[in-house]
Each structure stands twice: as structure tokens, then as C-alpha cells.
């Protein structure tokens, strides 16, 4: 992923800044600049998610693309935040450690790197709450 493309999403990737529709009250993460329900009546505003949520579904990636090959096996999940939105993220856990419904909280982590001397992509992973 190019530097510019990565940098554009830093607020979301580092701080879980998403959006909320002021008309219907729906929260969006990943952020949407257009409410699919209210459409032109929608009023999109920025919202910073505290990040508390739970695991909706999960897997362990054992065969990955080149950028992630060295991290295998890693736990991938769909997380649902307390406000409702769902998104995909890695969970810092051993295979078998999380289940559907496991509560999680966000942590700032290295996601991937473009080779030895390329850009390091940081972002948010999740850890199980004990």
C-alpha cells in the first residue's frame, strides 16, 4: 500500500475515528461519508470510538499474502463495537484463545511492513479482555 494511501487513513487506523449519522443515530466504522439509510437527509459527523467490543466471528490465518507471511498463524476476527458497527481486525491471541462473544479492547500495533526498508504500517489490533 502506497505511503499516501496509508497516511490518508491514519486517524481511523490509529484512533478508531469513524462517523455517525446525526439523523438516524447509526454509527459507522469503517467511516462512511454518506448514510445508506438517510441518504441525502443524513447528517454525517465525526465520532471517536472508545473501542470496546466483542468477537462476532473469527479464524486463524495460516496461509497469507506475502506481506503477512511472516506473521502466520495469526488470529483474524470481525469485531462488533459497543455502538454497533462491525469491522475486521487481528486479535493478539493464541489460536483457540478467543470464541464468538469474547470481549475485546483495542491496542496500537504494527500491522505490516513493505519489505526490509519500506513503510511500516501501524494500526489497531484487539486483545481479549480478561
Amino acid at each position: 500500500m502506497s505511503v499516501a494511501r496509508f497516511w490518508r487513513k491514519i486517524p481511523q487506523r490509529y484512533n478508531l475515528i469513524g462517523t455517525r449519522c446525526g439523523t438516524c443515530g447509526t454509527y459507522f466504522f469503517p467511516p462512511r461519508s454518506f448514510c445508506p439509510s438517510c441518504r441525502r437527509e443524513g447528517k454525517i459527523e465525526e465520532y471517536r470510538f472508545p473501542g470496546k467490543g466483542k468477537v462476532v466471528t473469527h479464524t486463524v490465518i495460516r496461509s497469507a499474502s506475502e506481506q503477512f507471511e511472516r506473521q502466520t498463524p495469526y488470529v483474524l476476527a470481525i469485531i462488533q463495537l459497543d455502538e454497533g458497527p462491525r469491522f475486521t481486525a487481528q486479535v493478539v491471541a493464541e489460536p483457540g484463545e478467543i470464541q464468538v462473544g469474547t470481549p475485546v479492547r483495542p491496542v496500537f500495533r504494527r500491522i505490516s511492513a513493505d519489505g526490509e526498508s519500506g513503510v511500516i504500517h501501524y494500526g489497531t489490533k484487539f486483545v481479549p479482555v480478561r
Partner: protein
């Protein structure tokens, strides 16, 4: 001419694939229009649909609907990453989601909510390899057992290697023409009864229900409604089994049984070649292969062969109406077609 192709740019560093194929098939110097159609793994299904729309509208008379993908010139890492481009790059691919990983999360959700056993899931692959062993153009023509699947290596839990369709080179083409002109070219034509397409969110995490492909539900219903047919009229169906769990979801989401029942149907042999509803007589994506841009056209070819009674050892006796179901990504695009023997 329409050419379904997902990613020749990344697989073989060749864009402008419509023009290329028009040229090498001898149509460029006749200036026949050639258009590439891209919808990830549903590129072929959409290519066929574009041809049907072009002919049905009267804008074109005789149209080639083709599909092609050359996937094996790159290593596994590059092909996994290229295919991941069918999902949301920023919000799925960026964090390390792969296609097997996304479908594995469907499987985890499904198995948490419905009584699907590991063995039933494996039986989807066993059945499709059985059919593939009877298809001379299948990539894998060997039968396998439940043990083969369960003992194969994990790719993305709970999916194992034999739950996954392979990396494939392949191409397929069909010719679409108005019914009244078809007899000029052949007396073995079949009729297109319905062409339907639907969209859903690009990301799996945004779906209303992780285990249900609502684009399949919508396209399946639209196809049956526009043909004026019911599920009982369908003699066979080619579904998009990119993973074993995908076939389970497809059978249910197309409405052939209730949610949660497709594993039992598979176990009881209802979807087998000699069952009440043969599913993936070609061997499906699993055994016949999955050259992503070609798959949707290959499904049409299989149903055409069945309706003409030319499917050899895998012939469904007396097949009159067949359905195809082609999925892009994890369900963001779905094309469903219904064909009928003349």
C-alpha cells in the same frame, strides 16, 4: 464480445484484455466491439449477462460471452493478494484478511449457529470431486474421501486445503443470439429463461447476516420470478463453491432448503449426481477449477451440456431446466441465470 476477467493486469501484466482477445480470435480487423467485464470471481457471470442484455435489447445481434483467467504465472503469495483485492482493500486486506480467511469467518459463524458438522462440510468436496472425476475438462479428476479433506492442512480455521477451490488457468465462451436466429447456427441451442444480478456490501463485516449472502437471495428470487418458475422446476444447479461452506450457503440462500439444512441435504446425497437436486455436476469450482474470470461462463457451459444431453458420465437424465450461481468476492456481486432445453 464481452470478456469476463478479474485481474489480468496483476496475474500476467496485461490490461486491455477485451481488445487482446478480439485480436487473437480474428475479430479485431472486422472491428467487432470487445468489452472487458470485471466483478472479481463473478466477472464471467456478468459477462454472460451483458451479452444477454445486449441481444435482448436489440442493440447487438450475435454476441460472444467469454471469460478467462491465467493465474499460475505468479506465486501463491501474489495470487492470494490479488484475490484479496476482491474484498475491501482498506478495511479487510489491510489487516491481513485473505479469501479463505473471510469464508472461514462465514464458516465459524455458521457452525456456531447451525448444526453443520465437519464431516458434512467435507462431503461437499467429496461430492464435487466425484463429479469432477467424470468431467474430462476438470482440473482434478480424482475422487477423494472425507478423510482426505479432514486430514489436509489447515488454511484458515476451520477450512482446510480440500475445502478450498484451487488456483487455475482457464477460459470458456458461449455465443448468445436471438432465439429466432439461433437455428441458423445450430439445432442444439438452449434458451435463456432468466438473467438476474444483485449487489451487497463489499465487506463481509457489513452484511446484515454474516452467514447469509443477501445478494444470492435477491438474485435467486429475481431469476425465478422473471422466469415464472419455482424451485421444483430446477433440475440441476451450478453454484459458486469457492469454498465448501460457500456451497452450503448457496443452496440455502437460493431457497432450495431452509437455513441450516444444506449440510444434511449433502450428507443424504440429495445434491449428488443421482440425487433430487444435483449440485455442481461439473465438479464445481472445487474440482473443475476456479479460473476466476472464466468460472461464470464455465457454469453456463456445463448447464448447456447437461440440457443438450451431452454431459457423458455425469449426465443428469432428462435435465430440462438448469440454474447457475456466480459470486464475486464474499457476496458483493451475484449473478444467477436460468437456462432451458429446447
Amino acid at each position: 464480445m464481452y470478456v469476463g476477467n478479474m485481474s489480468a493486469g496483476r496475474f500476467i501484466e496485461q490490461e486491455h484484455i477485451g481488445a487482446l482477445i478480439a485480436d487473437y480470435s480474428g475479430m479485431a480487423t472486422r472491428h467487432i466491439p470487445a468489452t472487458r467485464v470485471e466483478a472479481a470471481c463473478a466477472s464471467g457471470g456478468l459477462s454472460f449477462r451483458q451479452a444477454v442484455i445486449a441481444v435482448a435489447s436489440g442493440m447487438e445481434d450475435v454476441v460472444v460471452a467469454a471469460g478467462v483467467e491465467k493465474m499460475t504465472d505468479v506465486g501463491t503469495g501474489v495470487s492470494v493478494d490479488t484475490l484479496a483485492g476482491a474484498a475491501d482493500r482498506e478495511w479487510e486486506g489491510f489487516v491481513g484478511a485473505t479469501f479463505p480467511g473471510l469464508y472461514a469467518m462465514i464458516a465459524t459463524d455458521y457452525m456456531h449457529r447451525y448444526p453443520l458438522t465437519r464431516e458434512q462440510l467435507a462431503q461437499v468436496a467429496v461430492k464435487n470431486h466425484f463429479n469432477g472425476a467424470r468431467n474430462p475438462i476438470a482440473q482434478f479428476q480424482q475422487e477423494i474421501t472425507v478423510e482426505t479433506v479432514i486430514r489436509s492442512s489447515l488454511v484458515a480455521d476451520p477450512l482446510r486445503l480440500f475445502d478450498c477451490s484451487p488456483i487455475t488457468d482457464g477460459a470458456a465462451a458461449v455465443i448468445v443470439a436471438p432465439l429466432e436466429r439461433a437455428r441458423e447456427f445450430t439445432d442444439r441451442f438452449v434458451k435463456v429463461r432468466a438473467s438476474a444480478q444483485a449487489s451487497d456490501t463489499i465487506s463481509l463485516h457489513d452484511r446484515a447476516d454474516i452467514s447469509r449472502l443477501d445478494a444470492t437471495v435477491a438474485a435467486g428470487r429475481r431469476a425465478l420470478d422473471s422466469a415464472g418458475l419455482s424451485h421444483r422446476d430446477i433440475d440441476l444447479v451450478e453454484v459458486h463453491d469457492c469454498f465448501t461452506i460457500a456451497e452450503i450457503c448457496a443452496i440455502e440462500d437460493l431457497g432450495f432448503c431452509r437455513k441450516g439444512d444444506a449440510g444434511r441435504l449433502t450428507e443424504e446425497g440429495i445434491t449428488a449426481l443421482d440425487g433430487d437436486l444435483p449440485v455442481n455436476t461439473s465438479g464445481g469450482l472445487k474440482a473443475c477449477g476456479h479460473p476466476v474470470g472464466a468460472t461464470g461462463i464455465k457454469q453456463i457451459c456445463e448447464v448447456v451440456q447437461q440440457l443438450r444431453g451431452e454431459a457423458g458420465k455425469r449426465q443428469v437424465p432428462g435435465a430440462e431446466i438448469g440454474m447457475t450461481h456466480n459470486v464475486g468476492g464474499t457476496g458483493a456481486t451475484v449473478a444467477v441465470h436460468i437456462l432451458e432445453a429446447i
